[in-house]
């Protein structure tokens, strides 16, 4: 039973990791907290759902969701952040601006869905279970694990083995120096925002399929958990986000299974709070939390 819970937790954690990766990527490159990231997950789920309802096959609906959420993410960058970047008040300003973007997206979704919880049509994804080593695994869980692993591989290849990745790392390290080296930061921002949005969009469809529930507020709990993931893993750290995402998934599943109901959130956010007190840079982080002499 414990092994089953841990496996379920790892699959849930894979989605957390996928979602939090975009969040931490934008922070790493941009130094801004995008609080509209949860809304991007919701938008991805909405696009995927309405595409499926319109008769589009699921695989193509997923691509539409990723492209759609990615495009929205770029739009948020252009409309809500671009001006702030020049002003030097980006840290505070971006928090405010992205809260605004979040409100806008959520209220549009609320309007579209008429505040209802929406569901994918029955058997959008084949309901198949496999058993091995005493564990029960659904085809959907396998698909989630497979697609997340594929995307993580793709992302780390992009970041560590391509010229785009070198430019991203250069801009993340020092935007002004990167400009001198001939990197166009705006192009980098555009790409990181697209990637980040696309991953959130995919996470949205996967979440919608797993719980068979899509609604306008679904992004908020994931955004709050993304904070936990990126702080545990270290703000801006990709490897950290993956490990912490999986860890959070397991922790949450176990807490739900073995502890009194309702205590899970308290534990998760207390953990976040404690980590910030004890080790604000997280398990892998290198960012400067900024107190005292440097």
């Amino acid at each position: 039973m414990l092994a089953q819970q841990i496996m379920n937790g790892l699959v849930a954690g894979a989605v957390y990791a996928l979602f939090a990766l975009g969040f931490t990527l934008v922070f790493g490159v941009h130094r801004i907290l995008n609080l509209a990231h949860g809304a991007l997950l919701m938008a991805g789920a909405f696009i995927g759902l309405y595409a499926v309802l319109a008769g589009i096959p699921l695989w193509f609906a997923i691509i539409l969701a990723m492209v759609g959420a990615g495009t929205l993410s770029v739009l948020i960058d252009v409309l809500a952040f671009r001006r702030l970047r020049a002003s030097g008040q980006a840290e505070f300003g971006a928090i405010i601006s992205s809260i605004g973007a979040n409100l806008v997206l959520v209220s549009i979704a609320q309007r579209i869905s008429e505040t209802k919880v929406l569901r994918f049509p029955f058997a959008t994804f084949p309901v198949v279970f496999y058993r091995f080593w005493g564990l029960r695994v659904s085809l959907l869980q396998l698909a989630i694990a497979g697609s997340v692993a594929f995307l993580l591989g793709l992302l780390s290849w992009l970041i560590f083995h391509t010229s785009l990745g070198r430019q991203v790392r250069a801009v993340a390290g020092n935007p002004r120096a990167a400009v001198l080296l001939g990197v166009n930061p705006d192009a980098i921002y555009l790409r990181t925002f697209f990637l980040s949005g696309a991953m959130a969009g995919l996470a949205g469809v996967l979440v919608g399929l797993s719980f068979n529930s899509v609604h306008f507020m679904m992004g908020e709990p994931y955004l709050l958990r993304a904070f936990v993931v990126v702080i545990l893993g270290g703000l801006g750290s990709i490897a950290g986000a993956v490990v912490a995402g999986m860890g959070l998934g397991v922790l949450q599943t176990l807490a739900t299974a073995y502890l009194p109901s309702g205590l899970t959130d308290t534990i998760i956010f207390s953990l976040l709070f404690l980590v910030l007190m004890v080790r604000p840079n997280g398990l892998f982080g290198v960012a400067n939390t900024g107190v005292g002499r440097r």
Partner: protein, 282 residues
């Protein structure tokens, strides 16, 4: 609309002003704390529980709520004043979520998701005016003192503040504690005004509306939060479509204001006036 509608709108405005000042004082000192919603929740529940369960009188219950806000913020300030920027924001957000989740979990004490109902309405316009007046006095006193100057310096440039002997940590801690006191006070007053409270009302939405009024009004002048709150409270009343799309309008306002009027309405006006006066003088 009758007069009563306007009066209750005015009461809501007074309450929101109080919450806004809890948020204002930390931002003024350059603290990225968004814990005010949590202080309001703590004060609100403390008051509701003391009054409904233990029959404590309203003034004592509200005083206890204020004291609790001060104490909680004081304890929080010790670890939080060591953090900066986004880390403070995330830590205080975690704190808000902890308070909300405890509100849901500790059913015996808080009534869980159902909240606490049947709280007597012991607070009216007069009490709210007195409380807000006291907060305003405190704000103006700080504004005109060395503490206000220290806050302004810390907010604008921590390195400069340090070079002048201003302790950033101490300034942040003081701002934290004042914020906790004001949050607890108005949380308590709100409980005795609205008949019932539930955990969800002290979460993300309250936090956003507090931030919105400061961003709109300004973080550098005492009048800022009042202007911001007045606009946000009045806007939905002006036209029905505005009321129906309140979150959408809040969202658009936040984006537009922070991008095009980053100091908010009041601070921008003050700056404009200073520029004009200076231009005349030189």
């Amino acid at each position: 609309m009758g007069l009563g509608v306007y009066q209750s709108l005015f009461d809501v405005f007074l309450l929101n002003c109080g919450f806004a000042f809890s948020q204002f004082i930390v931002l003024r000192a350059g603290v990225f704390s968004i814990a005010s919603a949590a202080y309001a929740g703590i004060g609100g529940y403390a008051t509701a529980i003391l009054v409904t369960r233990y029959g404590v009188s309203a003034p004592v219950a509200v005083a206890a709520a204020t004291a609790l806000g001060l104490i909680v913020a004081g304890v929080l300030s010790i670890p939080l004043a060591r953090l900066r920027g986004v880390y403070q924001a995330i830590a205080t957000l975690a704190f808000v979520e902890i308070v909300v989740s405890l509100g849901f979990y500790a059913e015996d004490l808080t009534g869980g998701a159902m909240g606490i109902n049947g709280i007597p309405k012991l607070v009216g316009t007069g009490t709210l005016c007195v409380a807000l007046g006291a907060v305003l006095y405190l704000m103006v006193a700080i504004d005109r003192s060395g503490l206000g100057r220290a806050f302004d310096t810390v907010r604008q440039d921590e390195t400069v503040a340090g070079s002048l002997g201003i302790s950033v940590q101490r300034s942040h801690a003081i701002a934290f504690i004042i914020s906790g006191g004001i949050g607890g006070l108005f949380g308590g007053l709100q409980s005795l005004y609205v008949y019932s409270i539930e955990p969800q009302q002290f979460g993300f939405a309250l936090l956003v509306s507090m931030l919105a009024s400061i961003v709109l009004g300004g973080r550098g002048t005492v009048i800022g939060p009042i202007i911001g709150t007045a606009i946000l409270t009045a806007l939905p009343e002006l036209a029905r479509p505005l009321a129906e799309n309140r979150p959408l309008i809040h969202g658009l306002l936040l984006i537009v204001i922070i991008n095009y009027l980053p100091h908010g309405v009041a601070d921008s006006l003050a700056l404009l006036r200073r520029r004009r006066r200076a231009a005349n003088a030189v």
